[in-house]
Symmetry: C2
Subunit: 348 residues, 2 copies
DNA sequence: CTGAAAGCGCTAACAC
DNA sequence: GTGTTAGCGCTTTCAG
């Protein structure tokens, strides 16, 4: 077992190299004012001793940790983990460390202890990658100033004291619904996500607006809610088939739920897309391999994550340089529609 | 914008409360030897000033950061992110912070810089949650001693100087293949994952061993490889249908690839499970909603992650207490078979 | 080009 | 019960 050895410190290196700790410090920070021969020598000693400077001590003095706090929720789901993937990639690239925290549940308002941990570890900034549910973001807003560092929020409704990076859910749902109309469907149902989620509300609003504009019905009986899971999607689809028998197409708020719509359709002998058009949302890689292949709204969650990192680092730098960062605090990424077999009734 | 305010320090609190920093220290650490009235008073000042002790300074003195380094790869995939979810949950519960690092690619051997970052930040231990590909783990072994802290590895082949937590892939694949035999299939093909992955090798070996034992053929033409993605699974299935036309069942190394096998079967008018039995591996929640519902080997990756954290923390404590931790360094979790429609030819 | 002194924010080890 | 002194490992002055 690798026993806990005493760490090599800058003093050890200095002693072994016969120089002052100061000189060692200069070498490890690549300062120019060191004689080449000295530098060479110190480097060798560092190598030989396996010395690694303590980021802890450094952060203390420099008052900058080069660490970003990331708060997520629901990492078991594909969406959040894709965002995290983008965050991780970008942070790695920018040379920042990541301190990862997770809310006990999506809707949790127990924000305080999480924020405390982040402050204690002196992160340089925070990415709040938690979906907006109920008023769990208001809570954040109230306590965000206490952080003393910039915050980037993904998925939020109104401009706050924080930076916002998000994907345009409304626009994505518009594209999906319009596409179904263009394909000649005219009884278009909708399975929403949980309606306390802002994203769900956006997607539903767009669906309703587009149908209303086309003079079509969006009554209570034409939609129902799921909770994002395939299991809930199946139950929702069953309800919808019953309460909206004329339905000839469904816009489903995510791909997982759309998957079970396809399953149920197959069980009931409904042909997709002839008898039923289906469009999902998310653009997970598997959606192209459903049967039939799923038309879906592709949102680049990796880009969302990496953008959040860049915006945050810019904000940190701006604050450090004392320049007021007049740049935009808001970034809205556009999703795109991937058209596949599940909605292609008019083959051209 | 929340401007970077000067942080409140222990001195500020001490001054405002009219006590020494020592007393404040005692209060924030819940030491018993403080007068109740003093404690009360100090607490109020802390509250009023919004003081948060610096974990940086603390870690330096205590020589313990209560932070775990986590190294992952391929967070865009469901497997790794489910493991990470388990890690996050357990760490949160145990009061540890998580420093997240990601390898540039699965097979990357650029381990050194990652390890350096972890050492510099003085993590108390490391979880190496990277799948074993080629010899990327040997590299780790060679450099692990330099870390000076315990390491837990998920997915590895031989006992090393590190702790090992893993899921029994061989046993899972055995169950899958035996199940197909029991259902009366006798031309059982296999789509493997990338064969430089240890997991893929294990699953393939079990499939071959069980078939050999039953006197069945496992020639070259009865299997082919994918790369885990649904797209690759589809191509693999196409090859397999051609090169092994007698095939009446497939064991597929993961659920994503099994999804496209189902898609292809549907396109070709093959009935599952009557004409073709299909079993996957992973047990992703969506697999129950494929058409038909997929029989699959369920591996609890959340448990894998959380177990890794517990094992690691135990190891850290053991080393700190100078007790030699005679306990087992190896934990092998058992998967289980979920039987669904895709392989149920003999309905009982 | 190099070194000495001071201190980041906190706690361990002593005093009192 | 409480305060004082020292120092974790590093960098920032400021001398030379």
């Amino acid at each position: 077992m690798s026993s806990r050895v005493k760490r090599v410190t800058i003093k050890d290196v200095a002693a072994a190299a016969g120089v002052s700790t100061q000189t060692v410090s200069r070498v490890i920070n690549d300062r120019p004012d060191v004689a080449d021969s000295t530098r060479q020598q110190v480097r060798e000693v560092i190598q030989r001793l396996g010395y690694r400077p303590s980021a802890l001590a450094r952060s203390m003095i420099r008052r900058r940790s080069y660490t970003l706090g990331v708060v997520t929720a629901g990492l078991q789901f594909i969406g959040p983990s894709r965002v995290l993937h983008g965050i991780t990639d970008a942070a790695e690239e920018e040379g920042y460390g990541l301190l990862l925290k997770q809310l006990p549940s999506f809707g949790s308002t127990a924000v305080d202890p999480i924020l405390d941990r982040l402050v204690e570890r002196r992160v340089d900034g925070v990415i709040w990658a938690v979906p907006e549910i109920g008023d769990n973001h208001r809570w954040l807003e109230e306590h965000t100033s206490r952080l003393g560092v910039p915050v980037v929020v993904t998925s939020t409704r109104q401009p706050t004291d924080t930076y916002v990076v998000n994907i345009d859910n409304y626009s994505g749902a518009e594209m999906a619904t319009r596409h179904l109309l263009e394909q000649g469907y005219d009884h278009i149902g909708h399975i929403t996500g949980p309606l306390d989620w802002w994203e769900s509300q956006q997607r539903k609003a767009a669906w309703a607006d587009v149908l209303a504009e086309a003079g079509l019905c969006t009554d209570e009986h034409t939609w129902t809610s799921g909770n994002w899971s395939s299991a809930s999607g199946r139950r929702a689809a069953q309800r919808l088939f019953e309460q909206f028998p004329e339905m000839d197409a469904i816009f489903v708020a995510n791909d997982q739920m759309a998957l079970s719509v396809l399953q149920l359709a197959a069980e009931r002998g409904l042909r997709v897309p002839q008898d039923l058009g289906v469009v999902g949302f998310d653009g997970i890689p598997e959606s192209g391999f459903f049967w039939p292949a799923l038309t879906t709204v592709d949102q680049d969650q990796h880009l969302l994550g990496s953008s959040a990192v860049r915006v945050l680092i810019e904000a940190i730098d701006a604050e450090t340089d004392e320049e007021t960062p007049a740049e935009s605090k808001r970034l809205l990424l556009q999703p795109s529609l991937i058209v596949r077999a599940s909605s292609l009734r008019n083959r051209t």
